[in-house]
Symmetry: C2
Subunit: 405 residues, 2 copies
Amino acid sequence: MIEAAIYGYGNIGSGVAEVIEKNQDRIEKAAGQGIHVKYVLDLREFEGDPVREKLVHDVDIIVNDPEVKIICETMGGNEPAYTFTKKALMAGKSVCTSNKELVANHGAELIRIAAEHQCNYFFEASVGGGIPIIRTLNNALKQENILNISGIVNGTTNYILTKMEKDGAAFEEVLKEAQELGFAERNPEADVEGYDACRKIAILSSLMSGRSVDYQDIYTEGITKLTTEDFLYAKKMDKTVKLLAMSKLTEEGYLAMVAPVLIGQEHPLYNVNGVFNAVFVKGNMLGDSMYYGSGAGKLPTASAVAADVIEAARFTGTHLQIDWGEEKIALADMPSSKRSFFVRLDRNKVLEAKAAAEFGNGRVVFLESLPEEYGYITPVMSEREFAEKFEKLDGAISRIRIEGK
Amino acid sequence: MIEAAIYGYGNIGSGVAEVIEKNQDRIEKAAGQGIHVKYVLDLREFEGDPVREKLVHDVDIIVNDPEVKIICETMGGNEPAYTFTKKALMAGKSVCTSNKELVANHGAELIRIAAEHQCNYFFEASVGGGIPIIRTLNNALKQENILNISGIVNGTTNYILTKMEKDGAAFEEVLKEAQELGFAERNPEADVEGYDACRKIAILSSLMSGRSVDYQDIYTEGITKLTTEDFLYAKKMDKTVKLLAMSKLTEEGYLAMVAPVLIGQEHPLYNVNGVFNAVFVKGNMLGDSMYYGSGAGKLPTASAVAADVIEAARFTGTHLQIDWGEEKIALADMPSSKRSFFVRLDRNKVLEAKAAAEFGNGRVVFLESLPEEYGYITPVMSEREFAEKFEKLDGAISRIRIEGK
């Protein structure tokens, strides 16, 4: 029997306790020994809840108990999770976390501390909920040079975009409904502005490169400006709009960004709907692959933490190498990157000939239901060049990037 | 530097050499040391090919060389692969294989022999080519009770079905074209009759249950009887036909089968087209997940072997447990299993009222282009009950099973 503790008894933390309890036979078999949760750290009291037996308010009780070998950190946020995680690792206890913010900020450092103390810092649950994307990158695909990772890694925004597409509803309306259903936070900024997806692609980009990608360096655009009309055009073009978190190995280095993009039916992420997440990975030998599943939710996320707990238990006393160095990597220059854009233009202000003259020869998209405007698909050009033309063009309504595979 | 050998220098074997050569920096970093291919075992001479330097015709040269720690077995077939694999494992050398036939026949035994000799028998490449489905089941999802695995695990048949769907072409015609393009074997029986998929779902079912599923116990039906008309009906119902290899945990035990089935657009496997493979996995905590990628092909399959080589190198001298016992498991009775069926009926022989009287209240599907017949979706009933009714009904043309998630 191996003793574990849970930092933070919220949604995910209580889910971890539930998964360890419900699937204890499987977990014992896989870990080679049973897993027992000895402590739960939380400031709250949980009156009348059986968890009270295990509840402690002082992290040092856990850190100083030599019996405890594994910590599940499900507190979220930077502090006190950062301090508490360091304390645990420095005491030789492996930490399994769902805290994407902490991993994005201090992943490489915490892995180094784990290595120095012959324990592990695992973070499967920090990206893609129950999808084993971290283990796939760290383990199953280590023989590959990863050329491209593109993911739908935020369930809230994917739910909103799916509803906008299927029901023709407006952003604000769907957001309100999602909040009422509990699929979106009362303060939805981290999701709808793309900040959550940005942290996650920073983590994936770091694993892709073996060095540290600072999430603050990643161009990030949310979904708040998308409209019903955008989805009408998308449908006409046999495409849809998805918030993708992308990282590509280019000749200029790793190009990372988070933005809503138009993707076609041939794209493996086209059919990922609702709260589901999926990550597309292209390797130089493997070619295209894709990993799909529940990107959020109590039990799927807790299941990913439990996978880490099993690995931590199997390799107690051994540090398993994760290739994520502390050296910060400079990303490729985003304004120089090239792609095609979809622009909505006011028909009374910009004639088609003018669009062609401005953006180069592209393709016009008409919608009968929107007679006062039209869509224009530009040829491939740099972000910088496009932005300059778009901003100074009177009659340019909005734009969305177009993404191939 | 760790020394390796390749058994069989065919398509996959030469691919393994290529992946190890091309991605040597990645592999060295991940394995903790470089991997060098010291020998290639093949009966052929390969005049003028640089591989000749490493070529041996006698397996004992490899087995008796204490420097060699890892074997890549890419010969295929039962013998001599079985004998050669046992020799290697008994000499304490880990074996990484792409040989689904051998794994399906002797996987549990070879894992036991590896355990007895502190080495490993790895078989990532035996199912799903480059998709890391074996590692996902053995590692990332060990905390889950796996309830359902459904896979498109044969690229040849999926290519044929995709062409039949998109081009409205007949089976024989597409098969011929696939043979000319090299996507189908000259003797296509193993693919089109479902035998290849059957071996693969036997392997996955064994990992799901932790015991041995005999592939000969699995009901297997191929795609040779599917017609252009079937795809017309499928389209009308917003469905498609896929050859699925399925294994489900039911109250009566594991129910496994390979058969063409109708699946709807909501199914995660609906959009898996061409030679791609994908495996849907449902866990009791995780819920739905799906793993998609190149299911065949030289480099993707070789990449999966290389992933095993890295793991074998990292853990040289240590056996990593794989939960696959030799005890044979009895599968659930397939004729008792229940589902809904799609039946084509001759309109001149079976009136709709008669269909309803025979099969129970279902749904009629008309196609204007096929005025002499109609389709009927039966209510859920047992395979046995359906088969009895279908076989004795004069005017019943053909049938396809319908599969939900």
